[in-house]
Subunit: 198 residues, 2 copies
């Protein structure tokens, strides 16, 4: 039985996403990286540490029915590609922005997990002085990669080089995030170290 810090019982919500389930890859606990990040963000919120939310999945709504005496029902809609990253919020007044990805690969992380719009968005965020990074779950570890570092590997791909980051490159260029019970994926610790000298 799992309880939140406020004593409320944790009930796993069912969610349907356009991506294929990668539960078993990520942790063998039946939890996705997204689930764990949502719990981490809830922990940060309830402890007053940071206010960071996942954005809703963008959906193009085509047809809505309005039955009498009940809520509007969306009868036709499609998943849209996001033009930004999935997570953002505020920590110590600073703007925080990140994307999270997991891979089943055993030897490398494919960069095609990101798309051009997201890279463009990350560049815009850095230009505005925001803190921007990606969280990558791979090889049973979770890495924190600063956006400016990701860009160098993205550029290598754009220039015709390899289309992925190897394990060794992740190890050398990323920061391991400590995993735990609460918070599960303590990425704020890395932010403290990198951007607040703590």
């Amino acid at each position: 039985m799992i309880r939140y810090p406020n004593g409320k019982l944790y009930e796993k919500k069912q969610s349907i996403t356009p991506r294929k389930s990668e539960n078993l890859t990520y942790s063998n606990r039946g939890m996705t990286l997204e689930d764990d990040l949502n719990e981490t963000n809830l922990y940060y919120l309830e402890k007053g540490i940071a206010v960071i939310h996942k954005k809703p999945t963008p959906v193009q709504i085509v047809d809505v029915h309005y039955p009498r005496r009940s809520a509007a029902v969306i009868k036709e809609a499609y998943f849209k590609q996001s033009s930004t990253t999935d997570y953002n919020g505020v920590y110590r007044g600073k703007y925080i922005d990140f994307e999270a990805k997991e891979t089943k690969n055993k030897t490398s992380f494919p960069l095609q997990n990101f798309h051009d719009h997201q890279i463009e968005h990350m560049k815009n965020v850095l230009e505005q002085g925001g803190i921007c990074f990606v969280i990558i779950s791979a090889f049973h570890k979770v890495y924190f990669i600063e956006a400016r570092i990701l860009f160098t590997f993205w550029k290598r791909k754009e220039d015709g080089g390899r289309k992925s980051m190897t394990i060794q490159e992740l190890e050398e260029n990323g920061h391991l995030i400590s995993l735990g019970y609460q918070p599960r994926i303590d990425y704020i610790k890395v932010i403290d170290k990198l951007y607040f000298n703590q």
Copy 2:
């Protein structure tokens, strides 16, 4: 014919939202406050002034079909109440967060336009040092109200007082946003004045 700063032709996108259309109220130009804010944010983005986006409408997806050879179709979904505000992003490294509302009322702005979760979210943002406000379109003007000011009127309502802000209260406690062609709703100007002493 309207063109964006980059020369691209402006094509009005059709969007379906759970709210009733209030086009005529807002400006008699067939544009909603949301349309104008989206264009303003696009202008800020393309000029490198700020990176601020509207979050996607939150939707609870219940049933998805996966037809062969074509994209997944959402066949049943419902609009969800958001637990945050609609707009956020980064300006000069600072976290920016706001909600936008319009009213048809001629003498007051009803506070029930906001819900408890949003007020709670705004308080959390202020505690983390973010810049938080609401943009209210009323009486043919557009006002910028700082969240900390809104809270005093929200508290009056919670304490059993009036459930709206009068024209006079909006005039005295809000900052008029200058409206124009590009950007249409130049709220960054108010942010500069209030938070960057410019």
